[in-house]
Symmetry: C2
Subunit: 246 residues, 2 copies
Amino acid sequence: MENKGKIYVIGIGPGNLEHMSQRAKDAISESEVIIGYKTYTNLVKDLIENKEVIDSGMRKEIERCNLTLDKALEGKVVAIISSGDSGIYGMAGIMHEVVFDREASIEVEVVPGITASNAAAASLGAPIMHDSCTISLSDLLTDWDLIKKRLECAAMGDFVVSLYNPKSKGRVTQIEEAREIMLKHKKKDTVVGIVKNAKREGENIVITDLEHMLEEDIDMVTMVIIGNEKTYVKNNKMVTPRGYKI
Amino acid sequence: MENKGKIYVIGIGPGNLEHMSQRAKDAISESEVIIGYKTYTNLVKDLIENKEVIDSGMRKEIERCNLTLDKALEGKVVAIISSGDSGIYGMAGIMHEVVFDREASIEVEVVPGITASNAAAASLGAPIMHDSCTISLSDLLTDWDLIKKRLECAAMGDFVVSLYNPKSKGRVTQIEEAREIMLKHKKKDTVVGIVKNAKREGENIVITDLEHMLEEDIDMVTMVIIGNEKTYVKNNKMVTPRGYKI
């Protein structure tokens, strides 16, 4: 008998429902069970009334994926949700890995969303008009030496750099080191955009530079975007030119 | 008298309307004039009946932005649309620059969308679960030496690399050189995902490796995603582990 279960791994975008795709809404609506970190299930609470909702605390990713697979193997359509794009530092990878590990035969569809760096970029102006890197400063799962090497390579290549997870309560020095590494290759007046709660309630936008960026409030819901050597500020907008001759 | 004109720079996502955000739909609906390259205005034709639609050919970006500003200065709400995310190699930068250049006082709102690399990643599985770079291989506006340097830095840092504009009819050697540069630092069996028309009609997904990637059909509507050293393939899905111990 064919299993009718299915797993959707859904990126709900920055948080405000208006930035979610119709496909994400439809997939949530089709699902019988909704699983996610409770901050995210709260964000979509209007869409999930009358559904089985299983929310959990942070750092329970593997447990959450196993539960998702259990429910899908029972024949249910299950949505596991994360913010931004589930395919960018989200749940898509770990969900696939849990399915592989348990050798389960179940369809997994990743529904993309608007990722945090793109949401923050839109609020800043147009800082990611040219080649860019995204680097997470969380060393929970990644060796800090590898992260430092990537920061160095990104700075050397004069990429626009988006920093995910720049700072948390227990992890405060990484952003300082990251800035030091940037300064080895980028000038201290390189433009830096700092957006807290991009494209959702409580959004706060600051445009500063590498020299002064640490004076700003930076936390886990903040995106830090460091420009390339041509990035500039005008009319309170941060813009990285693509190279057009106007 | 205050000018009631406004400019929306809208990313419509991969092309299928279901991946567009509600905010993008609402902004189009609010707009009196819609301006864009005609492939894109065609993609949203169901949303723009009874509006003034100005479509133009390729490589008319500056002209399109000037026209957008002209219309907005007449007091109209104008949407200039591009595919994917208008903030990622899209129209957001050049639109701001034209407004700056003409010293116009007009509100410009960038409405983010799902960018091509994220759409392609969702179709491949979960290749961008870790630090990544996006690099455009188009040397129309960027010095090829700078692009080569960035490819080198991206390969050295073992980033996942998304290549935008990998190849066009008149530009065929860049993807070959890019591959050579990758091979200086990445193994020849590094996983490569190639997605044509990601998340829209005519989607085609291939998973191959650095050694064999040039055997595949690659063009301007193709996204090439090169994995890092830990990226693997299982059940036809390309996955880059984040580092969880399952």
